[in-house]
C-alpha cells in the first residue's frame, strides 16, 4: 500500500492492520522471549503469579532478567531496585523517541492516557513504529501503535505463563533456538533503519556495549548508548557534512 491509499483508513481499521502485523511474526518472537524470562524466573524461585506480574508491570526484558538473577542470588531490595532501574533506563529515550515518531503532541491526550500508552512500549513495538512511519500517514501512527503494542502485550503475558510450565515439555536445544529469535529479529529491524545516523548508532552501540560490559556491568548499556549515539550523530552531522562540502 502506498501512503496515498492508506490516508483513507480509519483508526479502528489501522488498529486491526497493526494487530495483524504483530501476529505475523513479532508476537511469537516476543512470547518466546518472555517464555525465556519465565524459565529464568522459575529457576530463581518466583511463583507463576510473580512472574506474570513482573512481565506485566516491568515489561522490559533486561530489567526483568536483572530482577530475576538478583532475586535468586538473594540480593537486598535496595540492590534489586537500583539494578532494575539502571537496566531499564533506556525506556526514557525510547519513550521520547516513540512519542516523536507517532506525533503524540498532535493527539492532545491527557497525561494518564499517555502514561498508559507508554507502559505498553517495548523494544519490538518501538522498532516497528519506525517501520510503520515509512508506510502510514502520521495521524494513523498512534492507532497503529495501540493495535500493535496491545497485541504484543497480550502475547507477552501468554508467553510468560507458557514459559513457566514449558521447560517440562520442550527440549532445551529447541528452547535455545526459540529464545534466539527476538534479539536477531529486532537487530535486523533496527540495523535497516531509514536514517543513516540511526544505522550508525546501531553499529556503534552494538560494538561498544559488549566491550564495556566486563568493566562497567549494567552501566555499559547507558555508556554505549550515550557514546554510540553521540558518535553517530556527530559523524552524520559534522563529518559527513564536511565531506559534502569538500566535494563541491
Amino acid at each position: 500500500m502506498s501512503i496515498s491509499e492508506t490516508v483513507a483508513l480509519t483508526a479502528p481499521q489501522m488498529r486491526r492492520i497493526a494487530a495483524i502485523d504483530a501476529l505475523r511474526a513479532p508476537a511469537y518472537a516476543l512470547a518466546a522471549t518472555m517464555a525465556g524470562f519465565a524459565t529464568i524466573a522459575r529457576e530463581a524461585g518466583f511463583d507463576v503469579w510473580m512472574a506474570v506480574t513482573t512481565s506485566a508491570l516491568v515489561w522490559g526484558m533486561p530489567g526483568q532478567v536483572a530482577f530475576a538473577s538478583l532475586y535468586s542470588a538473594g540480593a537486598s531490595l535496595f540492590i534489586i531496585f537500583f539494578a532494575v532501574t539502571l537496566a531499564n533506563m533506556r525506556m526514557l529515550l525510547m519513550v521520547v523517541s516513540a512519542a516523536d515518531m507517532m506525533h503524540l503532541h498532535m493527539h492532545k491526550l491527557p497525561l494518564w492516557r499517555r502514561v498508559i500508552l507508554m507502559q505498553c512500549l517495548a523494544i519490538t513495538s518501538w522498532a516497528h513504529l519506525a517501520v510503520a512511519e515509512t508506510t502510514y500517514p502520521r495521524h494513523l501512527l498512534l492507532p497503529y501503535f495501540q493495535g500493535f503494542s496491545l497485541t504484543l502485550y497480550a502475547s507477552g503475558m501468554l508467553g510468560t505463563v507458557f514459559g513457566y510450565f514449558l521447560p517440562d515439555m520442550v527440549p532445551p536445544d529447541l528452547l535455545q533456538i526459540i529464545i534466539f529469535i527476538t534479539p536477531i529479529y529486532i537487530f535486523l529491524l533496527i540495523a535497516t533503519a531509514r536514517q543513516k545516523a540511526n544505522r550508525l548508532a546501531v553499529a556503534f552501540g552494538g560494538i561498544l556495549c559488549p566491550v564495556f560490559y566486563p568493566v562497567a556491568g549494567e552501566w555499559s548499556i547507558l555508556l554505549a548508548g550515550v557514546m554510540g549515539g553521540t558518535l553517530a550523530i556527530g559523524y552524520a552531522r559534522f563529518i559527513a557534512k564536511w565531506h559534502l562540502e569538500e566535494r563541491r
Binding site: 506480574t53 530489567g63 523517541s97 532445551p172 534466539f180 535497516t192 552494538g206 549515539g229 553521540t230
Partner: protein, 110 residues
Amino acid sequence: MDDYGFWGSWLAVGLAAVGTFIWRFAGVLLASKIPAQSPLMDWVNTMAYAMVAGVLMLMLVHPTGILAASGLDDRLLGLVTGVGAMMLTKRLILSLLCGILMFAASLHLF
C-alpha cells in the same frame, strides 16, 4: 522465596515495577518538552538506537538463562548470517529465517 518471604518477594516485584515506571513517566514528561525535528530529538533518537543495539548485543554476547548454554560462535554466526541476508535480500522474515537456521545448524554441527 525463603529469603524474602511472601511480603518481601512482592515488595521486590513492586520495586522492580517502580524502577521501570519512573523512566516511562519521565519520558512522557520529557517528550512534550523536546521540539520535533530538532537536532536534540535526532540526538535522543540515535542514543535510543545505540542503547537498544547495545542491549541486544549483550543478550547475544553475554546471555543469561538457557541461551548461555550455546556457544558464542553459534550466536554470532547466526547474527552475521541474518544481517548478511538482510543486506542482500532486504527481506526481513527471510533473513530472520536464515539467521535462525544458521544458529540451529551451528548448534548441532560444529
